[in-house]
């Protein structure tokens, strides 16, 4: 019997779902073994009956052995969908960094909801001030949550989006009844750039001009971008973006520094703390970094990491 799979995206951008599609021919090959019972991006299963007449209090998601959830939890609907997924899926996978650590949408966690609403509906040049929408739209939670702040998560598959190789590995491992072999080291593990040490730097530059490198030469000949004085989140970020074939990290392939989209190396690590600490330990004045919280917790602001500035005492 085919493996029943349910998939949902919460507060997210559908990039994770596109990453699933980017399995390409592998997806077609896997298809006979999979039975997608729910996946709003691709198929038409509805929460409240196919005729739209179900009980709005009973959000329905079919039973599945494997549940994939992308996106963080931002509003009441997300929470209900997530809880239904958890209740109906044997194994729950947090798919993508929004699901594992809040992702980019969790940047809003640095602000209170009221500030957001004020800006959106009353502080915008193109619209007249209006009250917040409240009718028939799901109310916001106080912030964006990672899935494991609300339900138990069985497998973490970070990445913005996760590399299709690892999505395939997670599914295959599940089919084969084994632990998925996922990367657990940092981006540097896959990064071939030349590293010597970071002690000679005193500050870190903004990325206002391209890194120094010879475009005719392979990345393995380029000096580590952090050692070039560019903030690169590689050392504190989970590897994986380069996929299973061990290619260079993808941002590095474009010769731009990593921004940490796979979240912290250790699931419960803190990219901001780890990066600031690594820089400070190397004698780099961390105050030279602009927008530290927003920059270093760009992808991992859930788990209470990014929070509104406390009001001045």
């Amino acid at each position: 019997m085919a493996l029943r799979v349910a998939e949902e995206g919460l507060s997210s951008c559908s990039g994770c779902e596109v990453a699933i599609l980017n399995l390409g021919e592998r997806l077609l090959a896997l298809a006979p073994q999979l039975d997608f019972v729910h996946m709003p991006l691709l198929m038409d299963h509805k929460y409240f009956g196919q005729l739209g007449d179900g009980d709005l209090k009973r959000l329905e998601i079919p039973q599945a052995e494997l549940g994939l959830v992308s996106g963080g939890v931002r509003n009441q609907e997300h929470l209900e969908v997530l809880q239904a997924m958890r209740a109906n899926c044997g194994t729950l996978v947090a798919l993508g960094t929004c699901a594992t650590h809040g992702g980019i949408p969790a940047l809003i966690n640095g602000l209170a909801n009221a500030e957001l609403m004020e800006r959106y509906y009353r502080g915008c040049e193109t619209n007249d001030p209006a009250p917040d929408p409240t009718e028939t739209v799901p109310p916001f939670l106080e912030r964006v949550y990672a899935l494991d702040e609300k339900v138990k998560v069985d497998i973490y598959l970070p990445g913005c989006p996760p590399h299709p190789d690892h999505i395939a590995e997670a599914v295959l491992a599940f089919l084969e009844g084994r632990e998925p072999a996922l990367p657990h080291k940092s981006v540097c593990d896959a990064c071939p750039t030349v590293r010597q040490g970071k002690g000679q730097l005193k500050s870190v530059r903004r990325f206002l001009q391209n890194a120094q490198y010879d475009p005719a030469k392979p990345i393995a000949d380029m000096r580590c971008l952090l050692e070039q004085g560019l903030l690169c989140m590689g050392p504190v970020t989970r590897a994986g973006c380069s996929g299973a074939d061990g290619e260079a990290p993808r941002c590095l392939k474009a010769r731009v520094p990593c921004r940490g989209c796979y979240g912290p190396v250790r699931q419960n690590g803190n990219q901001m703390l780890d990066m600031l600490n690594a820089l400070a330990s190397n004698g780099i004045d961390i105050k030279t970094l602009p927008d530290r919280a927003g920059g270093l917790l760009r992808f991992s602001g859930a788990h209470g990491r990014l929070r509104p500035r406390p009001a001045a005492k």
Binding site: Q83, R86, A87, Y145, D148, E149, K150, V151, K152, V153, G269, N270, M272, L273, D274, L276, N277, A280, S281, G283, I286, K287, R292, A293, L297, H303, G304, R305, L306, R307, R309, P310
Partner: protein
């Protein structure tokens, strides 16, 4: 019952830990709110340990090292000092009062200073009240299944 803060200190073996011993040998009295974790150097203390202490409910955390220039390992204390900015940043991000953390220098002979620092810290933290920060951890998460 009055609030009795729990304060954790990472204390360098070569200076403040020795000063704490000396304070004992000299029978100096200080508040019993301190718990010392002995380390070989203040430069050994990962800021994450400090934050872990806060996340587990410490009301105050100290890192006590040798005076600048007196580090047993050349400049571990200078690294600890550089990391101070990291802890400050994290406290700020977490909305904890900066006074809950203190980095202080104290040589092995400065038992008085040790006592003074610990007493000051205890009183300061007592004034701040309990650590309001409790993490949301997976085990706190609501189970649905």
């Amino acid at each position: 019952m009055a609030f009795e803060p729990k304060i954790l200190a990472f204390s360098c073996n070569w200076c403040s830990y020795a000063a704490a011993d000396l304070a004992g040998a000299s029978r100096m009295q200080y508040p019993a709110n301190l718990r010392i974790v002995r380390v070989m150097c203040s430069g050994m203390v990962h800021p994450n340990l400090v934050m872990e202490a806060f996340s587990k409910g410490a009301d105050g955390v100290m890192v006590l090292g040798c005076h600048p220039g007196e580090c047993h390992y050349l400049d571990g204390n200078i690294k600890a000092q550089a990391r101070l900015a990291v802890v400050e940043e994290m406290l700020d991000a977490y909305g904890l009062e900066p006074e809950r953390f203190r980095l202080a220098w104290c040589s092995s002979a400065e038992a008085e200073r040790f006592v003074e620092v610990v007493t000051e810290m205890t009183e300061a933290v007592r004034g701040l009240g309990p650590n309001p920060f409790r993490p949301t951890r997976p085990e706190d998460a609501q189970e649905v299944a």
